[in-house]
């Protein structure tokens, strides 16, 4: 069963990244008022174009870390996804402390993105890396609070138990602040839209500005895979995961994750990005207190009705 789960995790990442690439392009075309002329093979064209170009280097980069960063990013996406039950009893890594493992992956993602920016030895990637640390760390704090809030009704840190605790009512109904805050984390983890402080256009691509060829392709793929991973996690923790009538559980999980993926991509295209200092103020004064409030409300709710 575990072998099936591990294989499914890898397939889910691959398929999710592909779907995300297609939706991303379609979303951009929709917003731009273009004809949506995306095709299922279009991500392959981009991949082939990247692979047909040289992977350049800079003067005296931290080469080991630079080349490893995309791989590590992808590995974190896979590791984070591995604690999510894909169907009743099918989970690649059945930890008692699954949520903590996910939290560790979030923290390490910040490290990996910083390293990707740092090791290129060039200023735009470096600024991108700095900025990402400044924004990424507080966003991660927020996500820990909402995840703990989601774990409270389950009385367990295991993701499987959290899914099971939603048999009667989904967490998104019970704790409505949690899901939007967690989706913000998703935007931040995947360097997307309003939380794209690492790879943004005002920094000429930020941490990936000096990356080219196969390395760039790997980095972009890792970002999309992480997007898939976050979507699945969000649907497991807040939308009841594999729970649902009639259809088999795995299908429900995929459907819900697809919806979350679409919402994340739409948010990335529709929302404007603030300058980082303004965003810092917003996070520390509005979003973080909101996540405290979420935790307090869930605690009160469990005390009264639980």
């Amino acid at each position: 069963m575990q072998a099936v789960a591990i294989l499914s995790v890898l397939l889910l990442l691959l398929f999710g990244a592909w779907l995300a690439a297609i939706l991303d392009r379609a979303g951009n075309a929709l917003v731009a008022g273009d004809r949506v002329r995306t095709a299922a093979v279009r991500p392959l064209h981009d991949l082939a174009a990247h692979l047909s170009r040289q992977t350049t280097t800079t003067e005296a980069p931290d080469r080991l870390n630079w080349r490893l960063a995309p791989v590590a990013y992808l590995a974190l996406a896979a590791l984070g996804l591995s604690v999510v039950p894909l169907a009743p009893g099918v989970v690649a890594a059945d930890f008692d402390a699954g949520i903590v493992l996910w939290g560790a992956c979030e923290a390490l993602t910040v490290v990996v993105v910083f390293l990707h920016g740092w090791s290129a030895n060039s200023e735009f990637p470096l600024i991108g890396g700095y900025r990402y640390v400044a924004i990424g760390l507080p966003v991660m704090l927020i996500s820990m609070f909402v995840l703990i809030a989601a774990a409270l009704p389950a009385e367990s840190l295991s993701v499987a138990a959290i899914v099971e605790s939603q048999r009667e009512i989904w967490n998104v109904v019970r704790q409505p602040i949690g899901l939007p805050l967690f989706l913000l984390l998703g935007l931040s983890l995947t360097l997307r839209g309003p939380f794209d402080y690492a790879d943004s256009d005002d920094l000429i691509g930020g941490t990936r500005a000096e990356a080219s060829g196969a390395q760039l392709a790997a980095w972009q793929f890792a970002r999309l895979a992480m997007l898939a991973s976050v979507s699945v996690m969000a649907s497991a923790v807040f939308l009841g995961g594999y729970l649902g009538p009639v259809l088999p559980g795995a299908l429900w999980l995929i459907l819900k994750s697809g919806v979350v993926l679409a919402v994340l991509i739409a948010a990335g295209h529709l929302l404007a990005r603030m300058p980082p200092s303004r965003m810092m103020t917003f996070i520390w004064t509005v979003l973080l207190p909101l996540s405290f409030l979420d935790l307090v409300l869930v605690g009160a709710e469990l005390l009264i009705w639980g």
């Binding site: 931290d62 870390n65 560790a104 490290v111 030895n121 367990s156």
Partner: protein
């Protein structure tokens, strides 16, 4: 299973010790920080083997954040954070090596000559659950004390590191160190009339 555990332990402890040693042997400060993080991650994974999943993963989680901050401080405060210039910033080197070796040998001898208990934790025990019950049950006072200590630390850290102090700006009359002990201030000179801050444009 025992063999796999042993192999994993061997691998992880090698990583932990090697990366711990490389921390003080690499020129790049950023690499040093993340090597230390590697060491912590390896120790965290050993704890997973020792049936302490929460503590192990929490170590990984905490150390990733802590070493990220550490790396930023390295870049901020070191002259040569990328290690492009080779460097050796050590003092009392022989003594330090001696102390390190002595500590290792002493502790190892103590370990080897002590009759260690053998009361293995039951693999099926709900350790995370037990820990939670303990933290918010019998040991709640200790746990809360740790929390309050951390809060006090945060307040103290902010007070210490902020510029404006009770008696004016913290860098007022600040004086850069000399190139040798007790020497003339190097680099920028203290401004006449006090106040390390220059005009702000």
């Amino acid at each position: 299973m025992g063999l796999i555990d042993d192999a994993a332990f061997l691998l992880l402890s090698t990583v932990a010790i090697l990366s711990g040693w490389r921390v003080f042997a690499t020129d790049s400060m950023v690499r040093a920080s993340f090597l230390l993080m590697m060491s912590f991650i390896a120790v965290g994974l050993i704890m997973l083997l020792l049936a302490a999943p929460y503590i192990g993963l929490a170590t990984v989680f905490m150390m990733a954040v802590e070493m990220m901050v550490m790396a930023l401080f390295m870049v901020m405060f070191m002259m040569n954070p990328a290690g492009l210039n080779p460097m050796m910033m050590v003092h009392q080197h022989q003594l330090a090596i001696g102390a390190g070796v002595f500590a290792f040998v002493g502790l190892t001898a103590a370990v080897l000559f002590t009759d260690l208990p053998d009361d293995r934790v039951d693999p099926g025990a709900p350790v995370v659950h037990d820990l939670g019950v303990e933290l918010l049950g019998n040991s709640m006072l200790i746990f809360e004390t740790a929390g309050v200590t951390l809060l006090a630390t945060m307040v103290g850290a902010v007070v210490l590191s902020s510029r404006s102090g009770r008696f004016g700006a913290a860098d007022e009359g600040s004086r850069p160190p000399g190139l040798e002990v007790g020497g003339e201030p190097a680099g920028r000179q203290p401004v006449q009339g006090g106040g390390g801050h220059h005009h702000h444009h």
